[in-house]
């Protein structure tokens, strides 16, 4: 087995490689937690989409997916830097401290499953960002104003692909239906309001997602109808991502993403 190449480690490095990076600052805990939820959604989905790089079904699609990934990583950078040291939060935090929703950590599967995940997430994210522009937190309102445009494109692209795959060949329709079926049980979590979210809703930092749940269901329904797809049957919802209870998939994703800082603690270049 090839050995790892040498790498410069600063003389004062502890080598401990602590993986308990904390959010910092003078914000309320619920406020910080909300920044982490949005930031972790963007980071994890960006990493997932980035896994397609070099594996897309066509060169053009490969570039499309990489663009979506870069948008998400850009959003994560802004959000996590607002919550603390963005790099530390991304690369020095363990799976139990991640606050992303379960939908974004789901595996890519085939292209149709990736599109299903992106349709369900970006439609929700777009509706959220439209309202987040009114946030009482100046950073979040400015962030939302910037991000809402790129996410509008994400939503549109995911809808276009859903329609083409659903209303395409028998195989593409089957794969699209299976992708939606896989992701469907993670939708209720997007509209769950727990104590933390209620606290930031109460001070107008965050919109209450239940306000746009009906609009969301109807928008997804319209895309599925145009795609000639049945709406998946409601399944037992799976919740818990916002509290750090993740599927086994997130650990694998972080193992890849955090490989470098875990292998070479305190490395710089």
């Amino acid at each position: 087995m090839a050995s790892l190449p040498p790498i410069d480690v600063p003389p004062d490095a502890t080598g401990a490689g602590a993986f308990d990076a904390r959010v910092v600052g003078d914000k309320e805990p619920a406020h910080l937690d909300y920044l982490l939820r949005l930031g972790d959604d963007a980071l994890v989905l960006g990493q997932r989409l980035g896994e397609w790089c070099g594996h897309g079904p066509a060169l053009e699609v490969d570039i499309s997916l990489a663009n979506l990934a870069l948008d998400m990583v850009g959003q994560a950078t802004l959000l996590l830097n607002e919550a603390g040291d963005g790099d530390k939060l991304a690369f020095h935090r363990d799976v139990l401290d991640y606050k992303n929703c379960l939908l974004v950590e789901q595996p890519n599967g085939d292209f149709a499953q990736t599109i299903a995940r992106h349709l369900l997430y970006s439609t929700w994210q777009h509706m959220l960002l439209q309202r987040l522009t009114q946030s009482s937190d100046k950073f979040l309102s400015e962030f939302a104003y910037k991000a809402v445009k790129e996410v509008a494109y994400h939503r549109e692209l995911a809808a276009e692909w859903t329609i083409r795959l659903g209303d395409g060949t028998a195989e593409s329709a089957r794969r699209m239906a299976e992708g939606l079926d896989w992701c469907w049980r993670f939708v209720p979590e997007l509209f769950e309001v727990d104590e933390t979210l209620q606290a930031v809703v109460d001070c107008s930092i965050a919109p209450d997602p239940r306000q746009f749940e009906a609009e969301y269901r109807s928008a997804i329904g319209a895309v599925l109808a145009e795609a000639r797809l049945e709406q998946p049957a409601d399944q037992r919802p799976i919740l818990g991502g916002r509290r750090g209870h993740h599927s086994e998939h997130l650990g694998h994703l972080l193992a890849v993403m955090q490989y470098l800082p875990r292998t070479y603690p305190d490395a710089t270049w």
């Binding site: 079904p57 066509a58 060169l59 053009e60 699609v61 570039i63 499309s64 663009n67 692209l157 276009e160 692909w161 083409r164």
Partner: protein, 94 residues
Amino acid sequence: MSGDWPLWEVFVRAKGGLAHRHVGSVHAPDAELALAHARDTYTRRMEGVSLWVVPSAQIVASDPDQAGELFEPAESKIYRHPTFYDIPDEVKHI
């Protein structure tokens, strides 16, 4: 997959007032996705403010074998070039 898709020629307008300019081509199953692919491939670094996509099959091209009769006669007609007067500095894009 992309081998099954038709080819589209992509034209980008760099900024208002300039003409659309050919920048390359993309494969796409239909016009809307051709625009999306063109946007993702050719305007990701702020290259443009407007996009055209045209099915490559719709482009009518001159025959390279006819290049002699089509283009060479112009070579000896320098009086057709607008080089015999000065262009004011204020005039751009000529």
